[in-house]
Symmetry: C2
Subunit: 64 residues, 2 copies
DNA sequence: ACAAAAAGTAATTTATATTTGACATTTAGT
DNA sequence: ACTAAATGTCAAATATAAATTACTTTTTGT
């Protein structure tokens, strides 16, 4: 289950995986895993990513 | 940082910590930790809890 | 076409979420 | 007051998120 919404939001904000990683305090690989693989990030990390990209949890991580 | 919103939603749904734990497939202690302590649950668990309580991520876990 | 930046991926290690089991405290019903 | 259910909490073990290092592939710009 790729996270396409997060990737789109990141690209729209014009930041690279590496830049986002630095902003939220994780490594580039962690960001990449969330966008590409089946990964299960922590709530804290999800929140940090949302705030960095000016989105909410529902915007980036909610699925029906 | 207690999660009061989650506790309220759970009580409104009339389920105990133990029942919710069973529904989402974790132990009672994990549910208790989320409601009481400073805890950092996984996204998957947050989603499961939201669906069990008919709420969204923003409803239960978003903070500005 | 070429170089550089960005993205994908894998193996191993480290940090921490979650489990397990157990016990103490609080709450609700009679 | 008494009992049972629900909740709070702790220590130790296990599972897994995240870090680290390193390498390959794609994209992008010139």
């Amino acid at each position: 289950m790729k996270n396409k919404k997060m990737k789109i939001a990141r690209v729209e904000s014009d930041v690279s995986q590496e830049q986002l990683a630095e902003i939220v305090g994780v490594t580039r690989q962690t960001i990449n895993l969330i966008e590409t693989g089946n990964y299960n990030p922590s709530l804290k990390l999800c929140m940090a990513i949302c705030k960095a990209l000016n989105k909410t949890l529902n915007d980036l991580f909610w699925e029906e």
